[in-house]
Symmetry: C2
Subunit: 244 residues, 2 copies
């Protein structure tokens, strides 16, 4: 049984302002909730009889539908604390990280977090104007990978200033060099830009390794790749070099 | 000015049954409509004053909102004829093609069409139980690439039966060989499977080149890649070989 106040509270967690104040977020479904529970202690778990992986507030299918952000609610909805991420922790310069410069779509952001997890990238730096990783749509798109990747919202220029001189900062740009033939380092930061406008001017000036994903279509067309797709191809290229 | 009947007609085009009967589909926004208009003659174009690329039925912002399938309608909505695709045309064995085996999500399907376009793949074979490429969500996700890629709904087993013996049929499978080290041919069919279940048993038996996209995360976790992401990485690997 779920109270009206609980329903209201959960629904409000759709809003970033509210999530920020309450320092918690919503995750749904056995896979996503299960993965997060291995890392974080949930504040509350609302689940139908089908789900039996721990303490829960039992709800009916109908009650779950009323609190869920999904079109097809899946057994369980849980509230987790937003992990504290100290943006002052120095960047581990011996690893590969991602920096997102103004990604707007929560689905793209969640998909990128899932890609990072697959390719063993532990840290994603997000510019302050990047979508919120704890938005319900982003959380679902991560498919649980939010439990394995550190998300740090920070000023990207300040981050770059903290790095050694000539530390590799990669970006995919229209005037970059075809990624397939480039030598790619095992350490560095890969910047991915906004869906419509790409990497912002100020950040672009700090990119010192300019990459391009070449297209193979015929004719002079203005096609583009979705940013999550571009991220996947880029990360795949970096990791391929490690296997050879 | 738009009539009630027009509004009703357009809204009904959200349904596959209705699209099939009327042999037409809806596309929206200057980029998608513009790209399709270069290939296909629209049956009707509804557009606000902002849009001036041809004959149109003028509509107000409010009217556009009433017919649009988008959260944020963009200037123009057009109705196009569904291109006739004869599934009996023999497969061009000298090119690389995709075969989709039960892709369910229209957004994934549209994204895959966009990826195919980028990588110069002209033909996508879809199993009959794959989502409809003319679903409004799929059309939007293609970002206009629907104008450049042939979509053929067919029985995949029948397609495979029409091919020369030992013609390369690639699939990404959990027991495949890491794609980065495989030799990949310039011709062949790449099969991508259903979001939850992968490639169906019957189709899997016909895959004669088994690939795997290796993961690089630590620990024994059951992570996965979204099917559109896996398609992008796979196509990128095939085309990379052409550039070296």
């Amino acid at each position: 049984m779920i109270s009206k106040n609980q329903i209201k509270y959960i629904r409000q967690l759709e809003m970033k302002k509210f999530r920020k104040r309450e320092k918690c977020f919503v995750a749904e479904g056995p896979k996503v909730v299960g993965d997060l529970m291995k890392q974080y202690q949930p504040k509350a778990v609302f689940a139908t009889d089908e789900w039996n992986q721990g303490d829960k507030i039992p709800v009916t299918e109908d009650e779950l539908r009323r609190i869920s952000f999904l079109q097809n609610p899946q057994q369980v909805l849980a509230i987790f604390p937003i992990p504290e991420c100290d943006s002052d922790i120095p960047h581990d310069i011996h690893q590969l990280s991602l920096a997102l410069d103004g990604i707007q779509d929560p689905g793209n952001l969640g998909t990128i977090i899932r890609i990072a997890d697959w390719f063993g990238i532990d840290t994603i730096y997000c510019s302050e104007d990047t979508a919120d990783a704890y938005n319900p749509k982003a959380v679902q798109a991560t498919m649980g990978s939010l439990a394995h990747v550190h998300i740090i919202y920070t000023d990207l220029l300040r981050l770059f200033n903290s790095l050694p001189p000539s530390y590799p900062i990669y970006g995919t740009l229209l005037d970059g060099d075809a990624i397939y033939q480039q030598s790619l380092s095992r350490e560095g930061i890969i910047v991915m830009g906004n869906e419509g406008n790409g990497i912002s001017d100020a950040v672009r000036q700090r990119v010192n390794r300019r990459l391009l994903i070449p297209s193979f279509h015929q004719g002079d067309r203005a096609e583009s790749l979705n940013v999550a797709i571009a991220t996947a191809i880029t990360c795949s290229e970096f990791r391929r070099r490690d296997t050879q």
